[in-house]
Subunit: 107 residues, 2 copies
DNA sequence: CCACTATTTGGTTATATTGCCAAATAGAGC
DNA sequence: GCTCTATTTGGCAATATAACCAAATAGTGG
């Protein structure tokens, strides 16, 4: 594997990494419905606002979301809706795993 | 956010996490082309075979790949090709980020 | 059974991530 | 300017990940 290939997969992994957290996935899912401010996301997730803010920074740095300050509040929205479509694929993986587990135990 | 929702996003994140590593992304990409044995993946990635084996276990536990032992070798193949389609989305995110960075510096 | 090869497992150390608290920043309205 | 609210930033302790080496396991062929 050459340097360039290595860099390509490092960069791709960085984007995936940004998505690889329950709270961040929830946030992305929510932003897929409508743009939402930090305070509301904090209430929804039950996490500290500073924690949510950091999660949002991670998503923003990865280029997945963008923000928009209006008055005191900062609204975040999703930049790449294609990310949302991936959830169905994930869901398929989860369902299949659950079925296999079920089959294993019922034998 | 109720317990059930929390669990759902935890499970989804677990799958994303399995994908959120350069070597594992490379492996998934390669398995998308053809099933491949551990030894060849080790050569391709330049990583220790034990390291590759652990990465494969992570992907397998997540339900993304499956294995098939034939003789001394263990071949891995992808179970959910839809994962591969997500790469295009990621690529879009990366290209957009690169463009923005370029624009910022050329001003 | 022995030697050889492919793979997995265990263990250790280094590094990265997370979440909380406290403090800093920034805009709104009196 | 002061105060209140929303957000971000800094710092720290707890936890999770990763990579390497060595050792164990498993199948092959003499």
């Amino acid at each position: 594997m050459d340097e360039e290939t290595r860099n390509l997969f490092r960069d791709r992994a960085a984007v995936m990494k940004a998505l690889a957290h329950p709270t961040r996935l929830f946030i992305v899912d929510q932003l897929g419905k409508r743009e939402t401010c930090v305070c509301e996301l904090a209430t929804m997730t039950g996490a500290d606002m500073s924690t949510v803010s950091k999660h949002l920074l991670i998503l923003k740095s990865a280029g997945i979301v963008e923000d928009d300050k209006r008055g005191l509040q900062v609204f975040y929205r999703i930049k790449f809706p294609c990310v949302l479509k991936f959830f169905d694929c994930i869901e398929g993986v989860l369902v299949a795993s659950a079925k296999e587990r079920l089959k294993r135990y019922s034998k």
